[in-house]
């Protein structure tokens, strides 16, 4: 089977559900599985992953597995340093799962995985400077420059949800106060809606009725539904979240200057009810507005399965890459060599090379060398291995 048609498995591990699927090279999901996440014991989570893969593998021929996990994934994409909703602490997930499955495994932060699929198949296609913001319970973030995920020194770049936007503001699980995700996420929408209903305000009458009279029943999707029906207070609640979204995006634009923001996650189901006020606030708070080109703000197109598809596609990249090119980090100058893994630059180089290739031809080492500010030293050391 040609690698370009090979299937991979993507697994999205959330705080409550494990969603897995078999994904083809065009990002189509051919088969799906869902189960609860065992949250207490890392071993049980591994078991769940292994069982899920074996189940899917029994019906499909797959070459690799990608895991998107809500948490800090280290720079080598092998360990989960910390996961807020799972028991992982410096968990060497990749190696453990690889050993059990005998397949190449890639571990990626869930928001990064989702962003990757939006860039490959969704709202961010063709964008050289993409920032993805996933609005769920909290806020997940990812930065893609020229199709390379920016991971930072330790693998945990793009955690936008924890930018401080209000000094001394709402408490956040990360240990701080005033994080963006306390103002522009599903949790924020729910909190504000419940508070309004609890205050007994007559404007929240519809909202409370939809919640059977109990503010605790109010949730984000309920507010979105009501807003779509034209309920003024639900529209306002989404406007408020949208405004905070736009303000935070203006901060990100000051720092990152992207061409496009893709907004995904459950809250983005509200569509223009959320994005129109976000654009307005963005335009009103962006530094240097009027004297600079401005980023587009668009909705993600892939929905809740973006993470799964992205993880699977990253696994395909990795498997393809591993088979075709073995690059030793020693072949690179100290500045560009990444930790114990590959540098983003090497990935980018490999990706470009891979993109140009159609068959199984092994690239000449010279083709890995691109004229850049840093040169890859001693290209002769870049060995191309043919597939066994």
């Amino acid at each position: 089977m040609a690698l370009t048609q090979a299937l991979t498995i993507g697994i999205d591990i959330g705080g409550t559900k494990v969603a897995a699927g078999v994904v083809d090279p065009e990002g189509n999901i051919l088969d799906r599985l869902r189960r609860d996440t065992p949250t207490k014991d890392p071993k049980e989570t591994e078991d769940a992953i292994a069982e899920t893969v074996r189940d899917l593998e029994s019906r499909h021929d797959v070459i690799a597995v990608g895991i998107g996990a809500a948490g800090f994934v280290d720079g080598t994409r092998s360990s989960v340093l910390f996961a807020p909703h799972l028991a992982w602490r410096h968990e060497p997930l990749r190696d453990a799962v690889e050993r059990r499955l005998g397949l190449p495994v890639v571990v990626e932060n869930d928001a990064n995985a989702a962003a990757w699929s939006e860039w490959r198949f969704g709202g961010g296609q063709g964008e050289s400077h993409l920032v993805c913001v996933t609005l769920g319970t909290g806020i997940g973030g990812a930065i893609l420059n020229d199709g390379a995920l920016q991971r930072g020194k330790f693998g945990i770049a793009g955690e936008f949800g924890h930018m401080q936007v209000v000094p001394g503001g709402h408490r956040c699980e990360c240990g701080n106060r005033g994080c963006w995700e306390q103002y522009a996420s599903g949790n924020a929408l729910t909190r504000e809606a419940r508070e309004l209903a609890l205050s007994g305000s007559p404007v929240a009458h519809n909202l409370l009725r939809r919640a059977d009279g109990d503010p605790r029943n109010i949730n984000g999707p309920m507010v979105t539904e009501l807003a779509k029906d034209g309920d003024p207070v639900a529209v306002e609640l989404l406007e408020d979240v949208g405004r905070w979204l736009g303000i935070g995006l203006a901060n990100l634009a000051a720092a990152l200057d992207p061409g496009t923001f893709v907004i995904g996650g459950g809250v983005s189901d509200a569509g223009e009810l959320l994005l129109a006020p976000a654009r307005e606030a963005f335009k009103r708070t962006l530094t240097g507005r009027g004297f600079r080109p401005e980023a587009r703000i668009v909705r993600a197109v892939l929905g809740p399965e973006a993470g799964l598809v992205g993880a699977a596609d990253l696994a395909r990249e990795e498997a393809t890459w591993l088979r075709r090119v073995r690059v030793k980090t020693s072949a690179v100058t100290a500045k560009t060599a990444a930790r114990s893994g590959r540098s983003a630059r090497l990935e980018r180089v490999a990706r470009k090379t891979a993109g140009r290739r159609t068959g199984m031809r092994v690239p000449e080492p010279e083709s890995l060398k691109e004229p850049t500010e840093f040169e890859l030293k001693e290209p002769a050391e870049l060995k191309g291995d043919t597939e066994a």
């Binding site: 800090f72 340093l81 910390f82 807020p84 602490r89 050289s128 400077h129 930065i143 420059n145 920016q150 991971r151 930072g152 020194k153 330790f154 945990i156 770049a157 793009g158 955690e159 936008f160 949800g161 924890h162 930018m163 401080q164 936007v165 209000v166 000094p167 956040c172 990360c174 240990g175 701080n176 994080c179 303000i247 901060n251 000051a254 720092a255 990152l256 200057d257 992207p258 061409g259 496009t260 708070t285 962006l286 530094t287 240097g288 009027g290 004297f291 600079r292 080109p293 980023a295 100290a334 500045k335 560009t336 990444a338 540098s343 983003a344 630059r345 004229p371 850049t372 500010e373 840093f374």
Partner: protein, 319 residues
């Protein structure tokens, strides 16, 4: 590899230098900045460079300018202190000199200088702040300067840290540079003195002045170095704002090193220590992640010249 010229265009001075591939500055030239006239400013830049080109064989010229620089690194889209609006500076200077010209944002150029030859020469992920009148930012990711889609990335001083806060020259309110810059330091010092605070009165006498309107950033730094408690507190407050803002910035870039430079960094550890303490207290999920290191910039006022020259040379050699 040959020589290149780096030019730092400030609000009052234009400083140029011939820089070798080792980042060392040889000959220098200076001009005053004629801030009001676009043509005169361009001419002053050309003069400063021509003076050096007459004596040295250079391959390229790099210009660091405060403002938004286009993605192709030739046009200044907007400069807050100079009269440039969509000014094709690179083309203009290049045509006059007959040498390829690269235009860079001044803070980017300074950050690159520190990355290539200064405080961050051994790392690949760096955030560099130039803390002066405002805050200039420069970010290096995986060994590459972050420019963004349109060339105007890393304007870190204009991230909003206080909703509805102090007015900023950029048109917004509550920008970081309104709280963590030299201007903020002086504003707070003066406000304290005008409130009638005895501690501030003592600080003024340590500074050798009686009128709070004469108070300047360097005075406060000097008084703090001499142990004046009021000046120490003012710098401590500034450091705290710096550290809190950097904690937010670390969530974006996950750098291995944070470098602090610019005029205010003359306060050295008085500033960096309090910034680092505030940073450590405010980094999200701080107990479950590696932390970046903090360092002072090493190249001083030359960072912009060295960085601009090096970026110009690198682009030429990549061609």
């Amino acid at each position: 590899m040959g020589l290149s010229i780096g030019i730092d265009v400030g609000g009052t001075k234009i400083a140029a230098g011939v820089v070798g591939a080792d980042g060392k500055i040889g000959a220098r030239s200076h001009r005053d900045t004629p801030a009001t006239s676009v043509d005169e400013t361009a001419q002053a830049i050309i003069d400063a460079a021509a003076e050096l080109i007459a004596e040295h064989k250079v391959e390229a010229v790099g210009i660091g300018a405060a403002g938004f620089v286009s993605a192709d690194r030739s046009t200044v889209l907007f400069a807050p202190n100079l009269a440039w609006r969509d000014e094709p500076l690179g083309e203009r200077v290049g045509a006059a000199l007959g040498v390829p010209v690269v235009v860079e944002n001044d803070a980017n150029a300074a950050a690159w200088g520190e990355f290539a030859f200064g405080a961050a020469k051994d790392v690949e992920h760096m955030v560099c702040l130039t803390v002066g009148t405002g805050i200039g930012g420069g970010v290096v990711i995986d060994g590459e300067l972050l420019r963004g889609a349109h060339g105007v990335a890393a304007e870190l001083g204009h991230m909003r840290v206080v909703p509805g806060g102090h007015r900023c020259g950029c048109g917004a309110r509550g920008c970081w540079e309104q709280y963590a810059s030299g201007s903020a330091l002086v504003r707070e010092g003066r406000a304290l003195a005008e409130s009638g605070s005895l501690a501030a009165a003592q600080m003024l006498s340590v500074c050798g002045i009686t009128d709070s309107s004469e108070l300047s950033g360097p005075m406060i730094t000097k008084a703090a170095a001499a142990g004046d408690p009021c000046a120490v507190e003012l710098l401590d407050d500034l450091g705290r704002w710096l550290g809190e803002g950097l904690a937010s910035i670390a969530t974006l870039f996950d750098p291995s090193t944070i470098v602090i430079g610019g005029g205010v960094s003359a306060a050295k550890q008085l500033l960096v220590k309090s910034a680092q303490v505030a940073f450590e207290k405010n980094l999200p999920a701080r107990s479950n992640r590696p932390h970046p290191s903090f360092g002072l910039a090493e190249l001083g006022n030359d960072a912009g010249i060295i960085g601009a020259a090096d970026l110009a040379r690198r682009r030429e050699s990549a061609r």
